[in-house]
Symmetry: C2
Subunit: 362 residues, 2 copies
């Protein structure tokens, strides 16, 4: 039996805004007296096209996407983009720079290596990903087709709190886990991509924001459904999009606007994560090894000084309604994901539990 | 203002079972006292793994999938499979047979041609897709890697009501629009694939059923997330699946079992479509050009003898709550999709309207 209220600290799919779920519930059988659930709508019909147009426009406003960037609603998740990005951007034989800041960078590099010569411009592997490598140490290739970063490392708890300068080489970011958590200077990027299941909506939906001049014919072997150019030129009508996920994402964008936009949400995210990191750093029972300046505001990765207590910590937390606090399997330990939808009360409940647990076990 | 009840005849995304939507609505904020919406569940967690396991098992039972076939829950829709199928099944330079029975066959051929030498074994183009070419006229290539059919043509209103014999060449079917509408002799196929947005669930989810011996390493350029082998070996854990769509599909599978399974639903589908085709054939106002033996039971494609009345027909139908009866844009005319979830009452309401419209306009 789990006590109520429940707070879901999963790294994604993870917590969604309650207001969004309530609205989705209310509209589930009949969207605005259309007589249809959004799941039942033909995607070329007026109703769904209205939903998709509104979602794209709200996202453009939220992020301040410049006019010379396209927003694509794709499918397959960020793991598919690890392949589709070089297939769409790089001719065969090209080189790309990748910066390795942890688990998800390595996945992107591994998959990208199947399509291009990858130059790992910098890596945090030698210090076990305790901090983001300073740009002064990056060995960039001036001939690279792009430079790829992972703006937030979900498994390792690191994030960029500064913007790299890659000169004329387009900067490309996997923003899956911090997209919409703070304002972004879009114009500093060539491509931004993000899987939806953190701060956007249901898993599978994949957002690609790309500068017009980078939309080129993809490699010949690229499935047309995954060609940025085909999708951009068809305005998402090449094949049936993830209609229901686009709808939910649209509700999330509206919710974000009601919260005051990305500036306001960033401030709240900063406050929530500061509270948690302060509690961790103020205790001898919990350890966060990441350098303070590079810590993720989305995924606080930490562990118990006595790792043998981890299972007991998770068991008791679950009993208290604090769910999914285990670390990524590749890393272990604990992880509290504090996405946009996590209320302050959830963070306070976690901290109270951590302090009580610490008191019981020291 | 649309009158109630509303019947949605869209070709997909289309009508879903009301009981499924009601259950989804009820569980939307909290799945079985887990404290989480299914959209919020980590996909490797016990809750979602239970949902996915159950869905796969129910589908296996419904279809009678033999033990030497795998069921994959993929992403991207059938249009993506037009590319991913040859990428996964054919080495470079291979040949494949395709039978052309209409709009969606042609799409599959067009995309498949980018990966293989395609032999169009038979085509209905010369008679404007009035019937499915008899197998006696197929020019099969004994060296083909597979023979591809489209078991139901959504835009043209044709379906196979017999099973081709392709000898040792694996038979592959795009079953997007009639999957789960009737029993299938799975063992006669090498691969079956289907996008979800007709009889399964939300758009994007893509089901691939493949015989074990056909699961080979994909071509080197295939994104790992779309490799049948990678997905089969990881049991769907390679990347985050379409969690919410898998859940809805699972509810649909349960609903189908409660309807008595595929034999019972096929009988109902036969009855519904017979009623509609009888009404069309019994009138001078409506014309269905497809040969009776090859007509689709999912998508009745017909037109008005006086095509100038089409817009007025659609307008009046909509007023009566009979939605989305326009034909596919590439074909024109009218189309009534009668998926599993369309109740008898919807078909009766459509026929009553058609008869009244005919009486008013002759």
């Amino acid at each position: 039996m789990i006590s109520s209220p429940v707070y879901n600290f999963a790294a994604g799919p993870g917590i969604m805004p309650r207001e969004v779920l309530l609205q989705a519930q209310q509209e589930l059988l009949d969207w605005r007296q259309s007589g249809m659930s959004v799941m039942e709508m033909p995607f070329t019909g007026e109703e769904f096209q209205t939903i998709m147009r509104q979602a794209r426009q709200d996202l453009r406003e939220l992020l301040g996407v410049p006019a010379d960037y396209r927003i694509l609603f794709l499918q397959g998740g960020a793991s598919a983009q690890f392949s589709l990005l070089p297939m769409n951007l790089l001719p065969p034989g090209a080189t790309a720079d990748y910066v390795d800041t942890g688990h998800w960078s390595r996945k992107a590099i591994e998959e990208g290596s199947r399509y291009a010569r990858i130059n790992v411009a910098a890596s945090g592997a030698d210090h076990n990903y305790r901090h983001v490598p300073a740009q002064a140490r990056w060995q960039l290739d001036p001939g690279a087709g792009y430079c790829h970063i992972t703006s937030n490392e979900t498994a390792d708890g690191l994030a960029y709190h500064w913007l790299p300068d890659t000169g004329n080489v387009p900067l490309v970011a996997d923003m899956t886990s911090d997209f919409l958590s703070r304002p972004i200077a879009i114009e500093r990027f060539g491509v931004i991509y993000a899987g939806a299941q953190k701060n956007i909506g249901p898993a599978g939906l994949t957002i690609v924001i790309i500068r017009d001049d980078l939309i080129q014919p993809a490699r010949p072997e690229t499935p047309s459904a995954f060609s940025y150019r085909v999708q951009a030129e068809s305005e998402g009508r090449f094949n049936t999009p993830l209609t229901y996920a686009v709808y939910i994402a649209g509700l999330v964008f509206r919710w974000l606007k009601r919260q005051g936009g990305l500036g306001a949400i960033a401030e709240r995210n900063r406050r929530k994560s500061d509270r948690l990191y302060d509690a961790i750093d103020g205790s001898d029972v919990y350890v966060c090894p990441q350098r303070a300046a590079d810590r993720s505001r989305m995924n606080a990765c930490f562990h118990l000084a006595d790792a043998s207590l981890t299972t007991e910590f998770l068991r008791q937390a679950r009993q208290q309604g604090l769910l999914n606090l285990q670390g990524h399997p590749a890393v272990g330990g604990l992880r509290a994901s504090l996405y946009n939808a996590m209320p302050d009360a959830g963070v306070e409940a976690l901290i109270a539990f951590m302090q009580a647990f610490a008191a019981r076990h020291t």
